[in-house]
Structure formats: structure tokens, C-alpha cells
Subunit: 344 residues, 4 copies
Amino acid sequence: MDEPIRIAVVGLGYWGPNLVRNINEYPGAEATVVCDLRADLLETMARRYPAVRATQSFSEVLSDPDVDAVVIATPVSKHHPMAAAALRAGKHVFVEKPLAASSDEAVDLIGLAERRERVLMPGHTFLYSPPVMMIRELIDSGELGEIYFISTSRVNLGLHQPDVSVAWDLGPHDFSILRYWLDETPAYASALSRGCVIPTIPDVAFINLEFPSGTVAHVELSWLAPSKLRRTTIVGSRKMIVYDDTSPEPVRIFDSGAVLPNPETFGEYKLTYRTGDIVSPRVEVAEPLYREIEDFCSAIRGERVPRSSSALGLEVVRMIEAVDASLESGGARIGVSTPARAAA
Amino acid sequence: MDEPIRIAVVGLGYWGPNLVRNINEYPGAEATVVCDLRADLLETMARRYPAVRATQSFSEVLSDPDVDAVVIATPVSKHHPMAAAALRAGKHVFVEKPLAASSDEAVDLIGLAERRERVLMPGHTFLYSPPVMMIRELIDSGELGEIYFISTSRVNLGLHQPDVSVAWDLGPHDFSILRYWLDETPAYASALSRGCVIPTIPDVAFINLEFPSGTVAHVELSWLAPSKLRRTTIVGSRKMIVYDDTSPEPVRIFDSGAVLPNPETFGEYKLTYRTGDIVSPRVEVAEPLYREIEDFCSAIRGERVPRSSSALGLEVVRMIEAVDASLESGGARIGVSTPARAAA
Amino acid sequence: MDEPIRIAVVGLGYWGPNLVRNINEYPGAEATVVCDLRADLLETMARRYPAVRATQSFSEVLSDPDVDAVVIATPVSKHHPMAAAALRAGKHVFVEKPLAASSDEAVDLIGLAERRERVLMPGHTFLYSPPVMMIRELIDSGELGEIYFISTSRVNLGLHQPDVSVAWDLGPHDFSILRYWLDETPAYASALSRGCVIPTIPDVAFINLEFPSGTVAHVELSWLAPSKLRRTTIVGSRKMIVYDDTSPEPVRIFDSGAVLPNPETFGEYKLTYRTGDIVSPRVEVAEPLYREIEDFCSAIRGERVPRSSSALGLEVVRMIEAVDASLESGGARIGVSTPARAAA
Amino acid sequence: MDEPIRIAVVGLGYWGPNLVRNINEYPGAEATVVCDLRADLLETMARRYPAVRATQSFSEVLSDPDVDAVVIATPVSKHHPMAAAALRAGKHVFVEKPLAASSDEAVDLIGLAERRERVLMPGHTFLYSPPVMMIRELIDSGELGEIYFISTSRVNLGLHQPDVSVAWDLGPHDFSILRYWLDETPAYASALSRGCVIPTIPDVAFINLEFPSGTVAHVELSWLAPSKLRRTTIVGSRKMIVYDDTSPEPVRIFDSGAVLPNPETFGEYKLTYRTGDIVSPRVEVAEPLYREIEDFCSAIRGERVPRSSSALGLEVVRMIEAVDASLESGGARIGVSTPARAAA
């Protein structure tokens, strides 16, 4: 096997330590440097990983010849400047989701990565989660038939962010999953939200998406909810799925549907309903973050475009921007512009 | 006690027989006539209730001096002509929800009832359901604090209607409940829907409502869903509620919320979260339809305006019309005009 | 088709009216007489079914030539005298479970029925419930492998009986189901119980059963419980089942188990575990009581021995007697004597 | 504060590493030595905790003057010899549950600890779990009334042990919890079990316990089950509790019960049932193992007898021995002898 890819992790808040742990568990990589301004967080990591160098200086990371790639797990506003600097320093870059704070920033990073021939990858971790992957395969194989609609709720009490809305915070999860499952970008978005606790910061949002194929999707996001809910319903013409990330049975397939015996004469004939078995397939247990690091390293080795590609990351940012534009215009239906082709 | 109110039930489909049964169980009323065009349904009722007269002629019902009130449980398109005829014949009228097929029709019926001094009452049965009533009291008493938002799902596999959309079929339930709980009419509605099985008949709808007080509501309705779901989440500034009509614990009160220690300085201070006890209060077991018939009869005796008033019924129709208008204009936010004052 | 079988229903408490309704719905039978000492119950039935004759006199029922069969839904202590009288009067007899208050009584009734060539059938309704029948087929087909053990809970708040223990009241359900599924009579029973509310009347019981094949079963019965629980777990060597009568998915099949790679060398090798798909098969919706009446009538027409046979009913009584004997001897393991062969 | 207590952890299988982590998190203690025969496990710990000394020699641990206390997390058969050696070497001793492989061994260890004036504590971790502690308080306060019965299930697919039965493996959890809640030792035990996968090793057991106060308990244990179940029902004369360790609402209090209006005349009067609110109280989130280590250290400092006392540990062993004796005698009811008084 090749030499392990040497990775610096910048930002040791919530995700940083998990990234360090998974990088060290993956045989094809090693965490060589951790970087944060907060000395106490550095110290904790140093104690846990004596072999990893700890620094408060990001420029030291950039100039370190022993660093092949940089993982950026800082607040969104820092994504563009830090990723750009790292790409310019010749490093491959993994950025926590969302890729950047605007599509302009994201386009800029993608161009930079292309020119420098470096990998740029956003951390849409859910694309590596076994239930999400299984559902993608079920949709792809045609087992569900035409996808009529998808309705999803991601709500919880907690984690208000002082600087971003709930759509910027939780939206990337569902937007990247929908993009991955349906393999198309929504044409339109519209949204209603409210800043309940802090009037200027939306903490609940109801988002509608319309896809070119006809599929519609509804996404409910909230930091204010009586209990944790992660429930996605996928209604196809042949089968339906309920996906719940918090359940011991995360994927449930319902062999149910409405049958239209003779479409021309509807009005005279009644629909019939089919209700069959419900199956909870065994879902492989695997840590998505590990798979994601593995995909990042494969991309660095030139083996493939990562599933969580920069092109997908740009589309996710464009979807959030469309949501913001809809909110600003009182809920109007806003076109989601198609990302630049070059980016894939 | 007064003489029992003599009631004719017109339309013996799904709701009709339940209405007859509850009318007969309520001591203050008796079902004297049943009317339907379908002879087999009449026969079934005749066998079950030998004392009830069965007829296929609606005009016979109207001219019957032994009929004080008429209950109309026919398709929506028949509500206005039949209710108008009954009011003109001097009968009190109970109409299954929605009150009429348009707000113009509803306004016309309300005017007619006023002029003839007869009771006109739409059958918004959920307003008589013990959990719905308990939640109204909890909101009224201030125990939940300010109502931030309400999100509700009413989905199921089945019962596509050939003539109406899912919003006209299922919407009256949630719209009447929201109107009753919040005691205000929404200012705006917007919606996304799709006709999945029959392209011209919307069978899934995502509806947003904005109320003058600031409360926002989201209503998901569908005839296509993997399993029955009746789940309403009410998020208040002090407490939250989950209401599920299908659960043995239909009302669950969560003593949880976000606390903003010092609103002026947010950005520097973090929100704290409060998670307290969860209580499933004992909810009285009572048949809503019985209570509804009782309320109708009290209104006939002049004792009170029914909880499910014609004014409320008109507002519900206006909410559905706003949803339709939004759908026609590609999801635009549509004002819900305030119903005529005279109607209450 | 033959003339409908004319049936008298004796005892109009909880089960009686349900039996009358199902007899009238089944085309091959009709309820001709209802009998109870309580005039108000008779009156209610008379109003509901004007064609049915109501009487307070059981001997009148017995001497009525228009009665082919008698359904007895009275307290257990009355089962033997009333069933014996009816058999002697030449009627076919259906007795609510348990068949009799002792195995001596049951044997006596079985002998009488044989001599008079009449059908004697106990009302073990669960044997006609679609989920119970589906599980019987799954066991029979070998899909579950060897049945290692079955554990079942039937608990609830309510319905203390003044005259019988919880084992006599609820035990017949589980004992008849186990007998039907496993197709064998337990060899031994042992039990622990307590009279919590009334010291002399056991209202909770923990019962162990050992079957000749090696299967063991545990049955928990109680009238005192925080919530209704009907949960049966069946653990086979190949698959496992959870059966819950109160769930929308009453049968769930788990393709899971422990695998012993090499039995001879256990101790050195570790067991491996297999966890596969979980399937909730679609279960037909049908009223068990209707099927039971149908089976009774088929037996009267000489077409077959009813699934809920008098032989099975006798075994159930013997199982309860063994439980009682165990309780009297401080929990000792008591042999369950095999019922007389002649009875099948 | 005093010097931290220096602790050696012997046995690095499942529990060992968790114990090391919690010892290091508790400010009043530090893990100074880890000991195991398996070099790879030692190495892993050495990498994780560079300051902790790793050794394969137990005698080295015993002779180390820098070790105040020894935590023993080895298979049950090693508990007595290792704990005895450690006590003789003057160390305080914490032994994973069960305390020893027989009551004779346990009595021997208790005597030795007394003579050497050292702490001997078994690791009944559940006694430090917040829901278990809350329920103890609810029982103590009388809020539940008289405890009629307790029924508990601890089942799961997995973790067959090659050397012990399911009663020795899982029984200590429930037996210690019951002992703690009820504050009394059971008078009698009886049991049924089966070795389903390996005939000589019982992997399912149904255990009955009778307490002097009249409370009865049923404990179902199994390594073979379709899904993880941890469900305990506590039925009191005033209230009932469902405790489920795997639920986000681990304690649910039901204000329900049966009411006997006039005990003298039962038979004439019917019982009435009370069904009130259900409350899921907020349960503190805390790691039980941390609390347990804290209690061990307090005991070493002479501040108190640990909640998980050696006397309780001996009683638990006696309960398992009574279960074994019952199994050997075909399910007979076996007296559980009271532990020596001196042990507390």
C-alpha cells in the first residue's frame, strides 16, 4: 500500500475530534497536526494522541511539508478563506458542510481546486450512512417505482446557532441526501420560517422543493421540538419507505400503493389499494465518517470523484440560498440555478 | 325535559349511519326519517331501526311537519342546494364538513339561516373530541406560553375522492382545529401539492399558514402514505405538546423549552435548554359525534351558538379557497379574507 | 344451500351480543332465541333484533323445536349443567371458554355429546384469529425451526372477576393458542400467583409449561398492569416471531438466531449470531368470532371436527387444573394428565 | 482534598477499559496500573493512557506500594482467588459482579476484608443508575403504596458465555436491583430454564422470587431474543411504574389502580378502576460507573458503607445459588438463606 496520507485537522469543536479519531483508524491516512486557537482543546487532543502535533497557527499548518491534506471543521464563515489558503498552499481540502457561506464562494473554491489540481470535498457525511446508501440503491433499481414525493422532518430541542439560521445548520443534511437519492437538482424552492426564540434567527423552517422530474419534497427543520425526530417518508408508485436514523430499524419498506385500474375512465372506476408486507432489511453497521475519510483519500490518490463532490456541495449551497431568497420575498417560489458543469 | 328534536338524516354513506346512531342515543333527539337515493342503504337502516321512516324523496323530508331539523351528509357539491332548500322549508340544518363548496355558497347559507332564524351548523366533529378540547384549554390558560408554531400531519393510504382534492377532503379537520385552538383566522396561506395517482386530483399537499399573532402552522395532508399518521406538534414558549389521535396517550405535554437569559446580549450568551417532566394527562373517553349532536340540539333550543359555528365553517372554506388560489399561482402566499362579522 | 341452523344464545353479558351479531351475519345460521334472566338485557336485544324471540326461561329454549343449537355464554359454574341439559335435549352446544369448571365436568360433557351424537364445541376464539393461524402455519412449515421457547404476557388494568382466578379467566386464551401452535399437550406446569387486591382471588400469575418435545413456555397473566400488553415471543432455532394482537403489525418475523459452528468443540469456538431482515407480513383482516360460528355450523353439518374441539377444550381445563394444583402446593411442578383419546 | 486513591485495574476485557476511563475522570482517584495476560490489550491501553503502567504480572500489582486498591474485572472463577490475594496484600478490592462463584467464596472474602480492615465492594453498577435510584426513592417514599409485584425482562440476542449460565451472567443485574428497591431478601426462589443452543448451558430462564413482605417478582432472562428488551413493571397498590433502560423516557409513572370500596363485602360490590395521568419524570443523565467508582473511593476514605455493599453482593450470590438449586430439583421452590449479619 501507498504511504498514508498525512492530514491536518483544523477546528477542534464538535466534529474535529471525531475526524481525528476516524483518520487515525483508517489505515490509509494519519492525523499529523491538529490546529485550534483554543489551547485547552489542543491540550486534550495532545494528551489523547501524543504522536499528533498541536498548534495554534494555521499558517504553520499550511507551510508544513508533512501535511498532504487539510480538514477544515471551523464555523461556516471561515470555510472559504481557510480552504482557499490551503488550496493555494497545495493541500487537498476537506471542508465540513456546507462547503461555503455562498455559492460565489463555493464556485471560487471549486475553480481554485481545479487550477491547482487538488481535491476539494465537502463533508456531507450522511451520503456515507448505510441506510441512506441502501435507499439510494432501492430508488436506483426502480423497486419503488416513480418517486411521487418525499417528506422529511429533522427536529430536536437544542443547538441554536448564534450566527446561522436553522436552514444553514440542518438543511445541508437533507438537501445533500435528496440530491443524492434523486440524482437531480430541484428546480424551485419555497419556504416559511420563524425566529421563535431570537426573532432574527430562524429556528424553524418549512421548505418545499420541486424537482424537474415531478418529484416534490418537503423538509421540516427545527431547533425547537418536544423530542428528537428524524423521519423521512418516501412515496413511490410501487413501494414506500420510512427512514428513521434513530430507530433500530432505520429503513422500513412498505409494499403498498394505490392502483388505478383504467386511467382513462377515472371518475367512474374507484382506485384500489394494495397493502402488502412490510420489510425492515438488515442494514450494515458502519461509521459514516470513516467511509467519508476513505473516500477523501481515494480521491487524493486519483481513484475517483468523491460521492460527496464539490459539485454536489455547490448545489446544496444554491438550495440554501434559494430558501433564503424565498424567505426574504415572503415565501415566493424561487428558481434554484444549476451549478457550473465544470465542477464535477 | 322538552320534547326530543326530530331529525331527518339525508345521505347514508359513511357518516350518515353514525349520525343516526348518535341521534338515537342522545335523549334530546330522535331520528325520525332517513333519506338516500340508494334503496339498499335505506333497507339496511330500516331493518336496524324499525321505528325510523325511510324515503328516497328529499322533498318529502322537507315537507314533513314531523321533521324539526335536517342533517345533510351528502357530497360537498350538494351541501348548498340541499341546505338552502331545508332552511327555506323552515328546518334547522346540520351540514357535514365542509359547510359548502365555496365561500360564496357558505355566505349565502349563513344569510339564509339568519333571515329564517334557523340554526346552521357545519359538522366539524374534531372540535368535540376530548383531546382537542383539552389542548384548547391548555393554550387558553397560558400554560404553553406564546404559541410559536404548530406542525401537523394527517396522512394515510386510502380514500381518494374522485371529485375533490385532498385539501378539501382532509383540510377541514386541521383548519377547524387550528381555528379553534388559536382563536384567530390565518392571515396568509401558501401551498404545494401534487396529483400523484390522478394528475388532476391533488393527493398530497404541504400547506403553510401564517396567523396575525405571529404563530405559523404547517399542515401535511395525503391519501398516499405508508402508514396512518395523525401527529400534531405544538411548540409554545413555555411548554410543548404532541397530539396523536391514534395513540392511547393522545395528549403529551413536554415541560421543555429554550431559555434566553438576556435577550439584549444574545450573540455573547448562549441559550440554555430546559427539559422537564413529560405528562400524558388522562383524557376523558367520549364520542365526539354525540357531543356534536348535543351541541346542535342546544343551539336549536336557543341555548348557545354551537362551538362548530357557521362562522367558523365559513372561515374553514375560506382557508381552503386560499390554498387553492396558492396552488393555482404556483405556491404564492395568498391572503385569507376575514369572514363576515354577522355570522357568529 | 341447506336451511340455516337455528341458534339460541343463552347469556347476554359481554360475549352474548357479539355472538348474536355474528350468527346473524353468517348466512348459514340465524339467531332465533335469546335467553337471560336480566329483563333489561333481553329488551335491548329485542329492540335491536325484532325477529329474535327473547325469553327468561332456559327450559323454554330446551323444549323449543325451532332451536337446533344452543350457545352458552354464562359464568363458568353454569357451563356444565346448562350444556348437559342442552345436549340431553338433543341440541348441539357451543360453550364459551373454558369448556367447564373441572376436567371431570368436561369429560362428562364430552361423553354425553358422543352418546347423543351432538356437536360440543368450546369457544376458543383466538384459534380463529388470522395472526394466530398464520403463526401456526409458520411453525408447521418448519420456517422457525425447532421451537426453543415461547414467552407471553397478557396483562391489563381491569375486569377482576369475583368468582374465578386470573388463570381461569385469561389462561384459556394462551393455553388454547399454545396447544394449537405446538400441537402437543404440556407435560408439566408450575406457577406462582398472588391475590393483590382481594387476597383470596389471584390477580397475577406467572406460569411455566414444559412440553414433551422440549419446548418451554412462560405465561404471565394479570388484571393489574399499567397498560395493556399482549406480547408473545416465539424463539425458534431458525427464526423468531413477536406476536402482538394490539399492534397494526401483529406478526413480526425476525430472521435471527445463534449459530453454533461446531457443536463438539464448543468452549473453544465462539457462537456466531445471525441478524437478518425483519418482516411484518400482511395479515388478513377477519372477525374471529364469525369464523368460529362458521366452524361450529360446519361441524353440525358433519363436515369436520371444529378446530376448537372439545378434546382441546378438555386439555385447556387440565392445564388450568395443573396450575391450580401447583399453586396449592407452593409452586411444585405438576404433571398435566393427557385427555381421554375418545374425545377428538 | 486528599491524595487521589491509586487504583490497579486487572482484566481488560469488556468492563476493564470502561473502569480505567471512569477512574481517570474521577478527581479522587487515578488508574496507575493495568494488568492482563493479553499483550495486545495492554498495548492498546498503554497507547491510550501513556501515564498508566501496564503489566502481565498480577503479583507485581499486589506488591506495588503505589497501588491502594485493586479493581478485578476477570471471569467469575477468578474473583475469589484474586480478590483474596489482593486483600491479603492489604489492598482495597472492587470485584465485578457477581462477587464470587459461590456464597462460601463470598463469605470467605467478606471475613477476610473485615479482618484486614479493607473495603470489599462488588460492582453492581445498576445501583448507581439514575432511573434505578429514582425508583428506589419512589418506593421508599410510599408513593407507589404497597408493592404487589414486579415483573422484569432482560433479553437480547447475543453474548452466550461458554462457562456460566444466563442466570449467573444476567441475574446479578436484576437481583441486585430488586434487593435495592425492596430492601429485603427474597425468602424463596424457583426457576425454569433451558439450554437451547448448547444443551448444558441455560440460555433462557424464568425465575420467580417471593419476598417476606408478600411482594412477588418474576425475572425473565435470555441470550436468545428477537430484539433487545429491558422492561420492568412495578405494580403498587397506589401507582405503577414501567422502567425501560433503553428508552428516552426510562421511568414512567402510572397513577392507576384497582379500588376496593368495601373489602368486607366483596363479591357483592364490584371493584372500581382508577386511571390517571402518566408522568415521565426527567431523569438526571449521569454515568453509573463514575458514581460507583466515587462510592468505592468514599468507602476507602471511611466515609460510608458503599451502596453496592459486600453484604448485598453475598445476597445476590445466594439468590443465584437458590435458582441453580431449583433448576437441579426440577423447579422446586428453594429457600434463600439469609446472609451473615456481620457482613454489612
